[in-house]
């Protein structure tokens, strides 16, 4: 009978660890998989109806066979508010990050970095409450509107954009900056037209992250964009949004509204997944064409 030597013991230990880590992976994957699965099961029937995206939300109705129509205004509202928020946060965030990264010697640069870091940890509902509180005091007539909604989302997006852009800029090797300066190109031109261009894949990834985060936030929109079941009424009016629709309908007692909530959930999931995949492909191709910065 062969003795139980060191080698066999080591192999056994390796296998045990491998199994344990595999189990941990499953534990992590389970919630994600079950959410997706559940969404498909519950919302699939609703989502794949015709006109789901183009009609208005249904009124509550108790019987299961009540009409379960669309989420059109919510989709429209989300697109508008996230679009506006991006329009604000991308330029502001990118420029702030450039200042923080390229002009780091000045103390302000480090302050920006630090601030962005802290802000990413602030709960998003506080952002919303802050914006609401400020506008309620100074501009109450638009305290609940697309404007404030976009601002609240920007407050969440900007720190993300700043941090990821800063990282992307840092990854650009210093030799590129030196090469540009040594050619007699002024610093700001070198930064914008060479360094920033070289870091676009990283910046794009950061913007993507920020957009997806904003598209899914419900809490900040609670006090700013407000709630509506109507199509777009005006920038200074409240509006509909997907996260809040899901929130409201999921808590409703009407079965048809609950179904719509599941449909909207599935839609949001698929949307985010699709945007993710398409963007990452595009970014990857950008990286390949650039030769791997």
């Amino acid at each position: 009978m062969r003795p139980f030597d060191r080698y066999a013991r080591r192999k056994l230990l390796s296998r045990i660890i491998a199994v344990l880590t595999g189990l941990c992976v499953l534990a992590v994957l389970y919630p994600l998989v079950s959410i997706v699965y559940e969404s498909f099961v519950q919302g699939g029937a609703v989502l794949f109806q015709a006109q789901f995206l183009t009609t208005v939300q249904p009124l509550p109705c108790s019987a299961i066979s009540c009409k379960t129509v669309g989420i059109g205004p919510a989709v429209q509202g989300t697109l508008i508010v996230v679009g506006l928020a991006s329009g604000i946060s991308v330029p502001v965030g990118v420029l702030a990050a450039i200042f923080a990264s390229e002009y780091r010697a000045r103390g302000l640069g480090r302050a920006i970095s630090f601030t962005a870091d802290v802000l990413t940890g602030v709960p998003s509902i506080i952002m919303g409450a802050f914006i609401y509180g400020y506008f309620v005091i100074y501009y109450p007539q638009i305290a609940l509107s697309f404007y404030t909604g976009a601002l609240a989302l920007s407050a969440i997006m900007i720190p993300i954009v700043v941090r990821t852009t800063e990282e992307a800029l840092r990854v650009v090797p210093n030799s590129i900056r030196e090469a540009a300066l040594a050619l007699g190109i002024s610093k700001w031109k070198a930064t914008l037209r060479i360094v920033l261009v070289a870091s676009i894949p990283g910046v794009a990834t950061g913007v993507l992250l920020a957009v997806m985060r904003a598209a899914g936030e419900a809490a900040p929109l609670l006090f700013t964009l407000g709630y509506s079941t109507l199509w777009f009424q005006g920038m200074n009016q409240q509006g509909a949004s997907l996260p809040l629709l899901i929130y409201t309908f999921a808590l409703s007692e009407a079965a048809n509204q609950q179904k719509v909530a599941w449909g909207a959930t599935l839609f949001l999931l698929i949307l985010i997944l699709a945007v993710n995949v398409v963007s990452r492909l595009a970014i990857h191709r950008m990286r390949v064409r650039m030769g791997g910065v």
Partner: protein, 251 residues
């Protein structure tokens, strides 16, 4: 004996409060190759980075003394303009990775004014020819710069620097990242470039200094020990420290 192109007068350069080079005075002749040799940390890179005002792009640096380009003190001129007259090629080839070969060479031209397409084309071809790269890339001038080999990339960087039509070209160990064949090509290039430009080269390779340089400077611990015609410095150095270094008896 050529006239003086760059005159360094009692130059001291600091990183934070530490002096990397101290009280350097030297006159680099025009249309000649001057090499700077010395052990690691002797300040050779710091010295040439002061010559095109790249030293000050690092935080917390300071410079004392003067550097004259044809009798103008470069520290009283606009640094961006100085760097167009004094170009630099770095140790590791650093082409702009997001750009094609053409765009790399024309980068400085495009960013600093708007010459016409024909004018830019002409400059690009001329610079690539001067850098002995034209024949190898003329069929793929829009290919990404990173598709070139290391030696070709370095010649691309030289072409890019020459496109600005500088008067002086500084080279910081231009061949240390390259294989012997690529090195030989660049050394040939250097010998040809000196007909039009003044070149100052930092090298840790003494044989290279002996091969290409008309004048050689030896630096140690931030000071200039000796400067003279290469042949004299290598056959009969005036300073015993120089002799100890070049005969490998250091330390």
């Amino acid at each position: 004996m050529n006239s003086v192109k760059i005159k360094v007068d009692r130059l001291t350069a600091y990183y934070s409060e530490k002096a990397a080079i101290t009280d350097i005075s030297i006159e680099f002749p025009e249309r000649a190759v001057s090499a700077i040799i010395g052990p690691s940390g002797c300040g050779k890179s710091t010295l040439i980075r002061c010559l095109n005002r790249m030293h000050e792009t690092v935080a917390r640096t300071r410079v004392e003394g003067q550097v004259f380009l044809d009798a103008e003190d470069i520290y009283e001129l606009d640094p961006v303009r100085v760097r167009r007259r004094i170009g630099m090629v770095f140790q590791k080839p650093n082409p702009f990775v997001t750009m094609s070969i053409y765009n790399n060479v024309s980068a400085a031209l495009r960013f600093n004014g708007r010459p016409s397409r024909e004018e830019t084309d002409r400059q690009v071809v001329r610079s690539l020819q001067q850098a002995a790269l034209w024949e190898e890339v003329k069929d793929r001038i829009d290919a990404p710069a990173v598709s070139l080999s290391g030696g070709q990339q370095q010649r691309l960087c030289i072409a890019r620097a020459l496109a600005v039509e500088p008067e002086v070209l500084l080279m910081d160990e231009p061949c240390s990242a390259l294989d012997p064949i690529a090195t030989a090509k660049i050394e040939d290039l250097i010998k040809r470039l000196k007909e039009e430009y003044t070149l100052i080269i930092v090298t840790h390779n003494m044989q290279q200094a002996a091969r290409v340089a008309d004048y050689t400077a030896f630096m140690y611990l931030g000071k200039l020990i000796e400067f003279g015609p290469t042949e004299e410095l290598f056959e009969r150095p005036k300073d015993s420290l120089t002799e100890a270094y070049i005969t490998g008896r250091f330390g």
